[in-house]
Subunit: 356 residues, 2 copies
DNA sequence: CTGAAAGCGCTTACAG
DNA sequence: CTGAAAGCGCTTACAG
């Protein structure tokens, strides 16, 4: 019915040249399949001549395994995410899986993307910077597709997630600032209903309240550079001006530092201390030297991939919430407390002896 | 032979429920196929009930179009690339194409990656931060797979590429620095045999030589943070110290600025001017305010996608070398010349009246 | 170890 | 406009 055009080489063609059956060709390229060394050699030789590569698409159709993982990500200007993406691609590659990338609109228009992902019959999905609606989660479970939320979680607990210990870290930051002798606190929030923002805000403000701080000035940065600029301006415009600012992520914290220094002429940390969350590359740059709660990318990605593989291999989906511990990396953007900062492998960390 | 497990819903199942043939289901989901509205409705209803989505993998097998573009990228810590990736994913998505991401080893071990890419029968390939060997290029042409090199090129001209006008921009930078009254020039090189490095180095040094500058201190940053740190240290350690440094990209330029300021206590631009290339996000941050040659990501990606689509649609591969013009964005990391800097849409640009 | 053949889930001439 | 059927390039029981 159709005519064979001069497309890529097929196993059929290789078989012909090698003088074996098409099955033999297939077996040659299927690890563990039973094939005589001699046959194998003939096939490999012919394959080399023709430049044959097995068609992964066709393979997927039989095996019902695409070896593709769909990844939805946004906020590419926040270094944390590209770093995650790079690591994810590498770790998947090691397992011979591949990564189909989708960029999430910030509007959270997941449904359309989700539809696209599903069409490719991915073996698993990683959602970073976007959350999944209840409905879609259900559908994944029904379809038997593992999903893991990366750096976000869902209350229902119906879908797996990997996070750092946001609330604990935020509490630690509160104690760090308290111990550093600060008095007027501010919090630059991320998108209000994002799970990480909630956990960080909760840990921070609750701890402060418990320690007798009556109020925390909360402004919305929404993980967005421009909004953060405005939020920071507001922060430093109304008096009393804060002497300690915790931004829900580094991306916003760096912006806060720039606004403080270059628009308000404030010295950091003499006039105001700034702390972030993520410990991304730029935070370590001397111009910023941002004190920040680390999110161990390597460990978090490792956990993500492990979760995915476990579910793919077992064929069953048992949601798990993984929490990877992080550390408060102390640099120079915040006044240091007298005690509690320890040196470890060349970096300074804050060790909290929390007595709750 | 095989038993149907409870996987995703198939068109067959939808057909059964809708009481139509499987062909009808297929047509319903094939834009432009001839299908009666009434039939279509029945199918859509059944599809909705079952949560049916056409299997893109199976579709690819017939159409010999995967609607997948393979992208090889590295240097994720250089903001330029994530930005490119994000834009690329979005533009492809608009055309209903998808992006399979591969992370290139810095060793340039393209072959293995290439093999993987080919197995998925991608409709096109974008190589950013990695170049293709002659051999592989041939193989792509033979297989009829469009390839475009992004931000790099190949002498042979056998494969398409998209670049900014590296040499012109570098010449402009030389003139800018000359006009700014600098005398001792240095160049922080990227990987020596990368095409963009060569073009930038050539444009810069040749222009300087032609204007009577006897020597330019060239050090190797190799696009790598740590190597750049060392290179910068060397630069500022041997006297006479340069008063003008052009780094082959922003990523290195930022590092040079940090080393100059925080390790050598130099003031920028009073003691030394620094210029970069890419005009990425961090360059605009007040802490750096890096003067930099812009690479218009949007336009470059647009050109890349256009090239790809043209070749995919036509089925023929005619290599094209696209050069997108950029501009020298003037900020505060380099002394400004008396004349030539103009204000445009809120940014300062250097307009060269080159008299060659 | 090997080949013939069924089947994966679609698309698309073909004949109505 | 519609359905039956061939075919896309593989994998994998099955029977030797």
């Amino acid at each position: 019915m159709k005519r064979k055009t001069f497309g890529p080489v097929t196993s059929q063609q290789v078989a012909q040249i090698a003088g074996v059956s098409q099955s033999a060709v297939s077996r040659t390229f299927t690890p563990g399949a039973s094939i005589a060394p001699a046959t194998r050699e003939k096939v490999l030789k012919a394959a080399r001549e023709l430049g044959y590569r097995p068609n992964a698409i066709a393979r997927s159709l039989n095996t019902a395994r695409s070896r593709i993982v769909g990844v939805v990500m946004s906020y590419f200007d926040n270094q944390f995410y590209p770093q995650v993406l790079e690591t994810l691609a590498q770790k998947l590659d090691e397992l011979n899986y591949h990564l189909l990338l989708f960029v999430g609109d910030r509007d959270g228009n997941v449904d359309r993307i989700f539809d696209q992902i599903m069409q490719y019959r991915v073996d698993g999905i990683v959602l970073a910077s976007v959350s999944l609606s209840m409905e879609l989660s259900q559908e994944c479970v029904a379809a038997g597709i593992p999903v893991v939320l990366f750096n976000r979680s869902e209350e229902s607990g119906i879908v797996s997630s990997v996070n750092s210990d946001n609330e604990t870290a935020a509490r630690q930051i509160a104690h760090f600032l308290l111990a550093g002798g600060h008095h007027r606190f501010a919090y630059v929030a991320g998108i209000a209903d994002s799970s990480v923002n909630q956990a960080r805000q909760k840990g921070f403000t609750e701890t402060l309240h418990r320690q007798g701080i009556a109020s925390v000035h909360v402004v919305q940065g929404n993980y967005d550079a421009e909004q953060t600029r405005r939020a920071a301006s507001e922060l430093f415009s109304v008096s009393p001006t804060p002497d300690a600012v915790f931004a829900a992520n580094d991306h916003m914290a760096l912006m806060v530092m720039d606004v403080a220094r270059y628009e308000f002429g404030l010295r950091i940390p003499e006039d105001v201390s700034v702390i972030g969350y993520d410990d991304t590359g730029p935070s370590g740059w001397p111009s910023y030297a941002l004190t920040s709660a680390s999110q161990p990318v390597e460990a978090m990605v490792q956990a993500t991939v492990a979760l995915l593989m476990k579910q793919i291999d077992s064929g069953t989906i048992e949601p798990e919430q993984v929490v990877v511990p992080g550390q408060l990396v102390v640099r120079h953007s915040a006044r240091r407390p007298q005690a509690g900062v320890v040196e470890k492998d060349g970096v300074s960390l804050f060790q909290l002896q929390e007595v709750e």
